[in-house]
């Protein structure tokens, strides 16, 4: 099976401050990162803050330009596309954001928020769009009346459902999940992850899942890549990675998972 999304040798550096004197220091946020995701699978990108995982996600979503490297979808290079050529790609790669409060425009009704991608990409008329929005909201576990409400009337979990509905509106193939549950309560996290799993099965979605919490990633992902200082230090299937971490950093990350009951037998990272 060939990979749907292929990322190769991605490099992104940020300058610190002004470069007027040419002495500004460069920080390498993403340092020759390569990975690939097969269709219908989930790749977890794990690392602490500043490890470059979000930067990688934003490059794949074409929110940032990379310095070098390539991102290919169906073998088609994304990074060199601009302007009009980019539109169909935008449609195929959608993103769910970390902060469900900041990622929804407070001035817009939920219906318009979800329908924005449809308005831009599709030729549906008003009533068709409305039907599609209701369908999307219900798919994500929200009542149809939600479309006529404003984001501030919803809780964090519900807002994240809105965010997912918006991302799914244009029928993407790849969904980038940028820490989609890290801003939520633990019980709500489980609900959102269940929803995402369900959607993946129903719609044959491919996920790039960004997280800093190894406990969540383990159950959710088919493969995991551990990032540190912009480099992938270890990659593998969750079960093997957890049972036998090769890199020091992975061990540290695993050791950071809190243990609810140290007396209980079983793998030390298992929660709930």
């Amino acid at each position: 099976m060939t990979a749907l999304l292929q990322v190769e040798d991605l490099v992104k550096t940020f300058g610190s401050g002004r470069q007027l004197m040419g002495t500004g220091e460069l920080t390498t946020a993403v340092d020759h990162v390569s990975f690939s995701v097969e269709a219908g699978r989930t790749l977890g990108l794990v690392g602490e803050s500043g490890s470059g995982k979000s930067t990688t996600a934003r490059i794949v979503a074409r929110l940032l330009d990379a310095d070098s490297g390539s991102v290919r979808l169906h073998g088609q290079e994304l990074l060199t596309m601009r302007g009009r050529a980019l539109a169909p790609i935008r449609r195929q790669v959608q993103m769910v954001f970390q902060d469900p409060f900041a990622s929804l425009n407070p001035r817009w009704k939920v219906g318009s928020l979800v329908a924005e991608g449809l308005k831009i990409h599709s030729r549906l008329d008003r009533t068709q769009r409305r039907d599609r929005v209701v369908e999307l909201l219900e798919m994500c576990g929200l009542p149809a009346v939600a479309a006529t409400r404003y984001p501030h009337e919803f809780s964090g979990g519900q807002r994240q459902r809105i965010g997912i509905a918006r991302a799914l509106a244009v029928e993407p193939e790849v969904l980038i999940l940028d820490e989609p549950v890290s801003a939520l309560d633990v019980s709500i996290q489980a609900q959102i992850l269940t929803l995402l799993t369900q959607l993946q099965q129903d719609l044959h979605l491919t996920y790039l899942f960004i997280a800093h919490d190894l406990a969540i990633v383990e159950r959710f992902c088919d493969r995991i890549a551990v990032l540190r200082n912009g480099q992938i230090v270890e990659e593998g299937v969750p079960r093997e990675l957890y049972a036998d971490p090769q890199h020091e950093y992975t061990k540290t990350l695993l050791g950071a998972i809190p243990i609810p009951d140290p007396r209980r037998p079983g793998p030390h990272y298992q929660r709930r």
Binding site: Q94, Q98, A102, E116, R149, S155, Q158
Partner: protein
């Protein structure tokens, strides 16, 4: 695969959302207020609760209606007996100067005669022109000038601020240095020069000229607002959804900057009234046959000792208009500022508490 994750319990989560408003004692009142309303509606309601701003709005509306209806505007005739600049004819009216020295015929309710306006309530000038008609025409001029300044300053300020804040980089550098240049030049001098070029004797060119120099504060505010808005996640979300730059600027960012813009424009307008007045007073602005409040003051400056009412009245209305517009601006700022939380009275707090208690008891308790 995920057997240990509890199934989605939708009802539970929906009720959680309601619970949020119950749980927090402090914010409960605000949250209750906010349910089911757009931000525009919330702002409107908060504005209408601002008594000072509402009073100012009523006074300003009364002044505007009085100014425009009394002496007529454009081709619409007014109900006032005299036109601006018209003098009584001894043959027709039987007098040239009604009271001694042309003093106002208006009488106050607490005077012996009781309330009455008489033929020249604001008095007459040395050649018998009716001051009320002149002041009303002056109000018209000031209002027209202020509205045009508001429109011009908003267009230029928002455009420059939005481009600077959104595109940053070179565009920002060029536009902001240009803005700095306009700020460093004294407004009065610049207004006088521009007024002379455009023909300041008429209200519209003068307003355009003033509008072309008063946008600076607004553009800086809009730029700052856009700089912070463009980092917000919903802008990224729009970009991922495929929105163009124009769409992001006009549909996503501008509506979120509306508060800043409205408040700043209102305050710009109130200072523009004074700028027009100063220019006209100094002789660089409106001149005869047009009438403005500033021109009236300058025209009758020399009569201060003998006929003080000749500039009491225009002065009063200048202050009234500037003050009310300022009050409205303050009210708008309070309404748009989310941190501006008025302290509710003890009675209101108790009522809110009772309401919450009632709703808590009427709903089955949800396990935390």
């Amino acid at each position: 695969m995920n057997s240990n994750i509890p199934p989605v319990d939708q009802d539970r989560e929906l009720s959680d959302a309601v619970d949020e408003s119950v749980g927090r004692g402090e914010g409960a009142l605000e949250l209750r207020d906010a349910v089911g309303k757009s931000q525009g509606q919330i702002v409107r309601e908060r504005f209408f609760r601002h008594r000072g701003a509402i009073a100012a709005m009523i006074v300003l509306a009364a002044v505007v209606i009085l100014g425009f209806s009394s002496v007529g505007f454009w081709f619409v005739p007014g109900w006032w007996e005299w036109a601006p600049g018209e003098r009584p004819d001894p043959e027709v009216h039987g007098y040239r100067i009604f009271n001694e020295g042309g003093s106002p015929t208006i009488t106050m309710p607490w005077s012996e005669e009781g309330f009455g306006i008489g033929p020249h309530p604001f008095g007459q000038d040395d050649i018998g022109r009716d001051m009320f008609a002149m002041v009303m025409r002056g109000i018209q001029t000031s209002i027209i000038v202020v509205v045009i300044i508001g429109i011009v300053a908003t267009l230029i300020g928002v455009l420059i601020g939005a481009i600077s804040g959104f595109f940053r980089g070179a565009a920002d550098q060029v536009l902001m240095r240009m803005t700095d240049l306009v700020i460093t030049l004294p407004t009065i001098a610049l207004g006088a020069v521009l007024g002379a070029i455009f023909g300041a004797a008429d209200p519209v060119p003068l307003a355009l000229a003033i509008g072309a120099i008063t946008w600076t504060g607004l553009s800086r505010l809009v730029r700052a607002e856009f700089l912070s808005l463009r980092e917000r996640e919903f802008v990224d979300a729009a970009r991922v959804a495929g929105a163009s730059n124009l769409r992001i600027i006009f549909k996503h960012m501008l509506p979120n900057a509306m508060g800043v813009i409205i408040v700043s424009v209102t305050l710009t307008m109130s200072s523009a009234i004074l700028l027009e007045t100063s220019l006209s007073y100094l002789g660089f602005g409106i001149t005869s046959p047009n009438v403005s409040l500033g021109w009236l003051i300058s025209e009758y400056e020399t009569a201060f000792a003998t006929r003080p009412w000749l500039f009491w009245w225009p002065g009063l209305f200048i202050v009234l208009i500037a003050l009310t517009v300022n009050f409205i601006g303050d009210g708008l700022r309070d309404a748009f500022d989310p941190r501006q939380r008025r302290i509710p009275s003890a009675r209101k707090l108790a009522a809110a508490e009772r309401k919450l208690q009632r709703e808590r008891s009427s709903r089955p308790e949800v396990a935390p």
